[in-house]
């Protein structure tokens, strides 16, 4: 089952990370627009559409990736205090009760919405360049589906935890500066106590 979880994690992480590079397109595109508009007074007709499309795409597509790395904010004041088994029971219930209905609604409604947009061949009204936006609206059901399969993986995590009493490990990934440093510090302390123990033993 762990293999299955990691497979899903890898798929959603790959998608999330691939679309993360939209931030580079966004940075370069908007900077170019600033340059030609404010300095050369010759604005582009596409940069505004590009900027919000890249923004929308990157955060929607990363939703499942963020979920797999436990990045979505939660009120964990009480949650932290419970045993892993209790945590897993509650999470599993809430995934079934809250997560899947909500995400399913997003997928179904998103499909309708995107379908209409494809039918009209909808273009952006924000700029004269007639940038098409039906592909942008299709992001919603795709992101919803990614979340759905990631939700299945999260449920599997809960089930493993219910069986073994411990949360299964996550894949290695980039960490925030503070988390990274905290981990390093902990490992060093463990190492130090271990070596001190050795010394005491040998003495």
């Amino acid at each position: 089952m762990e293999q299955f979880i990691f497979l899903i994690d890898k798929v959603t992480a790959w998608v999330g990370k691939a679309f993360a590079w939209c931030i580079m397109i966004m940075t370069l595109g908007v900077s170019y627009e600033v340059f030609v508009r404010y300095l050369l007074r010759d604005p582009t007709s596409w940069a505004f559409d590009i900027s919000y499309m890249m923004y929308g795409t990157l955060f929607m597509m990363a939703g499942a990736y963020t979920l797999s790395r436990d990045g979505h904010v939660r009120g964990d004041v009480l949650f932290r205090l419970w045993k892993p088994k209790v945590q897993a029971t509650i999470e599993l219930t809430l995934y079934i009760l809250f997560f899947f209905p909500g995400v399913l609604a997003l997928i179904i409604a998103g499909l309708d919405y995107a379908g209409e947009s494809w039918f009209y061949g909808e273009v952006s009204v924000m700029s004269p360049a007639n940038v098409p936006i039906f592909q942008f609206k299709t992001i919603t059901p795709i992101a919803g589906s990614l979340l759905f399969i990631q939700g299945i993986a999260q449920c599997c995590r809960c089930i493993i935890c219910l069986k073994t009493g411990e949360w299964p490990r996550h894949l290695e990934d980039v960490e925030e500066m503070e988390t990274m440093l905290l981990h390093q510090q902990e490992e060093e302390e463990q190492y130090q106590t271990a070596t001190q123990g050795d010394r005491a033993g040998s003495a």
Binding site: A20, I23, M26, R41, R74, L94, F98, L182
Partner: protein, 571 residues
């Protein structure tokens, strides 16, 4: 139950479920959908069980988050922050400031506060500032026999400035929830932010004059004699570039020249250029040795190097030309089109570059300008080879583009677009510069910044997806109205209401993070502001100040928690 009562029940259940520790954005979506289904339930109009207006509402709210032009600034500012955070700029900055302030009482504390303030301006993420400074400045201060709690206080207080000093992510998020303009919020927050930073510094100086044992002066041999010139160089390479970047981003926003997203994009690009600049400096001075410098050279490399040298010269000419054009356009109020390129002739750049390269080969070492970029060390060898690779690659791409345009007649499809031979020049220059930058940049660091940006943006923006769905159902059911009437019936004065609201937010700041508070709880207060005649702008600044304090105050002081994690064990 009447509808408004259902709405209050909805809020109550939601607050209870927050405590269960499920990711909040999905709780919000689910509860919005469930209660919305009830709210819009109308058997006569529904042809099937899925034909409920809540689904339209959900997807419309999602789309309005996706296409929101205020929130576009969120990933851009995050990206800028992560780049600056990971580019080792902070330790240079702290070191320089520490030496610059060495004659003042409490010099290290002042340097730490100033570094925090500048770094906070660039990132706006609290945890990062506190941990980094905790690793960097805290041991240094302890070593100089500073009082422990004094030093810890300085770092926590400095680190929390990030939430207030613009461009903070929190203020953008508040702007998106309350429809106050970001520019006004920033203008409002900049004064208290820097005032606070200034007061901290005054406090530090005062305390250390009254009680010098808190912050003993560093001994001269600890720092060593530093000449004025050396200090000026250190400041020029660490303090001024970052200060310039920050001031131009902030200045552009506050002067109303650019929208926050535009300023953020330029800031991110500037941060990237700064990081690349530090790295090039390091590589040229031999401090950093990437794999490709020591890698064995291929025989074909010399040709690429010639092309690379030519490309760099042409690139410099081109940049000078464009800058000149831009200056003329800016001061002369002309419209200048970028198309046309250098000397107005396509293809000339590539040919020119080749000739410049060959010419450089003949005169290398005798002409000062070309001598400076002529490959002599392994590092410049490799750099010029990359420039040559990139230029050639760009040429090939541009040729393929031109052929494709002429063969397949893309004009019909892309009507607004006029394909022209100018693509060759652009391909050549962008290829050279882009590939060079891509090879130089530390890809691990860039990757980390990009992935962290996307994760944090997803966290913030998915919260918006949930919260907007939830709150529109909540107000459709009449919950907002009910709460408003209830608060009004308490007959509070505006000041009392303000104090009450701030106390609630302060208390919420202990268990919850700022994103939840601003996106979910602050909107509950917002509709009442109009009745009490309170400016949402003023309210927003107060909330920011308040949250900053609440992060500093026990029992749940996040800042202290982060510092504890990295501090030496005996603290």
């Amino acid at each position: 139950m009447t509808d408004p009562q259902v709405a209050v029940a909805m809020l109550g259940i939601f607050i209870l479920t927050i405590l269960l520790g499920f990711p909040i954005c999905f709780t919000l979506v689910a509860m919005g959908v469930a209660f919305g289904y009830y709210a819009y339930y109308d058997p006569e109009r529904m042809s099937s069980i899925f034909d409920n207006q809540i689904f339209d509402l959900l997807v419309n709210q999602t789309y309005s988050v996706m296409a929101n032009d205020v929130l576009t600034a969120v990933p851009l500012f995050l990206f800028m922050g992560y780049i600056v955070e990971r580019a080792n700029i902070v330790d240079r900055l702290f070191h320089t400031l520490q030496i610059a302030a060495r004659r003042l009482p409490g010099s290290m504390a002042i340097a730490a506060l100033a570094t925090c303030a500048m770094f906070a301006t660039a990132t706006g993420i609290i945890g990062a500032v506190v941990t980094l400074m905790g690793l960097l400045a805290f041991p240094a201060m302890l070593k100089a026999r500073y009082n422990t709690s004094f030093a810890a206080g300085v770092i926590c207080a400095g680190g929390c400035l990030g939430i207030l000093i613009p461009p903070s992510i929190m203020l953008i998020v508040y702007a998106a929830t309350s429809n106050v303009s970001v520019v006004k919020l920033y203008a409002g927050a900049i004064l208290p932010g820097f005032l606070l930073a200034g007061l901290y510094i005054v406090y530090v100086i005062g305390r250390s004059i009254i009680n010098p044992s808190l912050a003993p002066k560093p001994k001269d041999e600890d720092i060593g004699e530093v000449s004025r010139g050396r200090l000026a160089i250190m400041a020029a390479t660490s303090f001024f570039p970052l200060a310039f970047l920050i001031l131009s981003v902030l200045g552009a926003i506050l002067a109303g020249l650019a929208t926050p997203s535009e300023a953020a994009a330029v800031g991110a690009l500037g941060g990237l250029i700064l990081a690349i600049g530090y790295r090039v400096g390091g590589i040229l001075q031999g401090e950093i040795v990437p794999d490709w410098v020591s890698a064995a050279a291929k025989p074909s490399d010399s040709w690429f190097q010639i092309l690379g040298v030519g490309a760099m010269v042409v690139l410099a000419l081109h940049v000078a030309y464009i800058v000149g054009q831009a200056l003329m356009a800016f001061f002369g109020d002309w419209t200048v089109s970028l198309e046309g390129g250098l000397f107005g002739t396509p293809y000339i750049n590539s040919v020119l570059a080749l000739f410049v390269g060959i010419g450089a080969l003949l005169v290398a070492g005798r002409v000062p300008v070309i001598g400076a970029i002529w490959p002599r060390t392994p590092a410049t060898h490799a750099l010029m080879t990359f420039a040559g690779h990139g230029a050639l690659g760009g040429l090939v791409a541009a040729a393929a583009y031109l052929i494709a345009v002429h063969l397949f007649d893309f004009d019909e499809v892309l009507r607004w677009h006029e394909p022209n031979d100018w693509a060759v020049d652009i391909g050549f220059l962008v290829g050279a510069a882009g590939w060079l930058a891509w090879r130089i940049v530390e890809k691990d660091r860039l990757r980390e910044s990009v992935y962290l940006t996307v994760r944090t943006s997803a966290m913030v923006c998915w919260l918006f997806v949930g919260s907007w769905t939830f709150s529109s159902v909540f107000s459709y059911l009449g919950g907002e109205q009910l709460i408003k009437e209830w608060v009004l019936s308490m007959d509070l004065s505006p000041v009392m209401f303000l104090i009450l609201a701030q106390i609630i937010i302060f208390l919420l700041g202990w268990p919850l993070e700022w994103s939840e508070i601003i996106i979910i709880f602050v909107p509950i207060f917002l509709p009442m502001l109009g009745f009490f005649d309170i400016d949402p702008l003023f309210f927003g600044i107060l909330v920011a100040l308040n949250l900053q304090t609440s992060f500093l105050t026990p029992p749940m002081a996040m800042a202290a928690y982060y510092l504890k994690g990295v501090a030496p064990p005996h603290v």
